[in-house]
């Protein structure tokens, strides 16, 4: 059983890391988002391996089902979809790489390797945290944070709506063909009248 779990872990870990590397390196934004979804999914599988079934399912529900869809929508709504031909990296990206490598090598690795993981936890062994336990904890010890989190979600909901609906009256309406032609004619006329002031718009 242990060997099987270990093999599954190694496969999942390799996949997660490969997906993470692809997210950071790949050129096409859509591909990056899809690799991100893959890494979310394999992390969810790893939660299942750790017998945290509730968290695993919440991970799939929130990250794969909601956040990734939002990211994909945002990519579709912003243009230059494929991102080819655009400069992707900072000019001095190697400095950033050194900083990240230093963070990993100096801070994280010594911490992980010097801590004595083999020490058994003291106190009685409680059973694995089940969904019921988590629910009870939300209603007893963690009631206040739970309420605060729900208020945060409400605020985020309202905030997102307010931000996204800013230009609603000008954007939402689908024009008829006649209206579009009329608009284009007007735009062309104004361009002919004052070509310098609208130069930035025509460049698009």
């Amino acid at each position: 059983m242990n060997i099987l779990i270990m093999v599954i872990f190694v496969v999942l870990a390799a996949f997660t890391l490969a997906a993470g590397v692809m997210v950071v390196t790949v050129k096409n934004i859509i591909h990056a988002a899809l690799w991100l979804i893959a890494s979310f999914f394999s992390v969810a599988a790893m939660y299942l391996l750790m017998e945290a079934e509730f968290i695993a399912i919440v991970q799939v529900l929130v990250y794969v089902g909601a956040i990734s869809i939002l990211v994909l929508f945002a990519i579709m709504l912003t243009r230059h979809v494929t991102g080819e031909g655009v400069r992707q990296l900072y000019k001095r990206w190697w400095i950033a790489l050194i900083v990240a490598a230093a963070l990993f090598g100096v801070l994280i690795v010594p911490t992980v390797f010097n801590y004595e993981w083999a020490v058994q936890p003291s106190g009685a062994q409680i059973s694995i945290a089940s969904t019921v336990e988590i629910g009870t904890a939300f209603m007893r010890e963690y009631l206040l944070p739970f309420e605060v989190a729900s208020v945060l979600l409400l605020v985020a909901l309202i905030g997102a709506i307010v931000i996204a609906f800013e230009e609603r009256s000008t954007r939402r309406r689908v024009l008829t063909l006649a209206e579009e032609v009329e608009q284009r004619r007007q735009r062309n006329e104004s361009l002919r009248l004052a070509p310098t002031t609208h130069a930035s718009e025509t460049s698009e």
Binding site: G20, V58, L70, L89, Y90, A101, P121, I134, A160, A164
Partner: protein, 100 residues
């Protein structure tokens, strides 16, 4: 049972990958995704600790992190789309003014 240090190491590598993404890429959406990956790696470590100490607290913390991440994504992406509407770019080098 997989030793908890393996999970912690994996989460550290994922976190560093996220840092690399945030620091090197110029597209705001990819920076965003890298931040999500960093949050995810923190979650992974938390769940590993929760399993190690056999307590529900770690998982509850993960739940809150996921909640905050969802809120962050909703507001952040709305902001990005709005910025794109006015500036026609998602390049974070060019989004450098406070005025819209």
């Amino acid at each position: 049972m997989v030793p908890v240090s393996y999970y912690v190491l994996l989460s550290a590598v994922l976190f560093t990958l996220g840092v690399v993404g945030v620091l090197t890429r110029r597209n705001a959406l990819i920076v965003f995704m890298s931040v999500e990956m960093m949050l995810n790696s923190a979650n992974l470590a938390l769940v590993a600790f929760a399993q190690r100490w056999q307590s529900a607290n770690g998982q509850i913390l993960v739940f809150f992190v996921i909640t905050v991440a969802a809120a962050e994504v909703a507001v952040g992406l709305a902001l990005l789309v709005t910025i794109f509407r006015s500036k026609r770019t998602t390049d974070i080098d060019e989004i450098n003014t406070l005025k819209g």
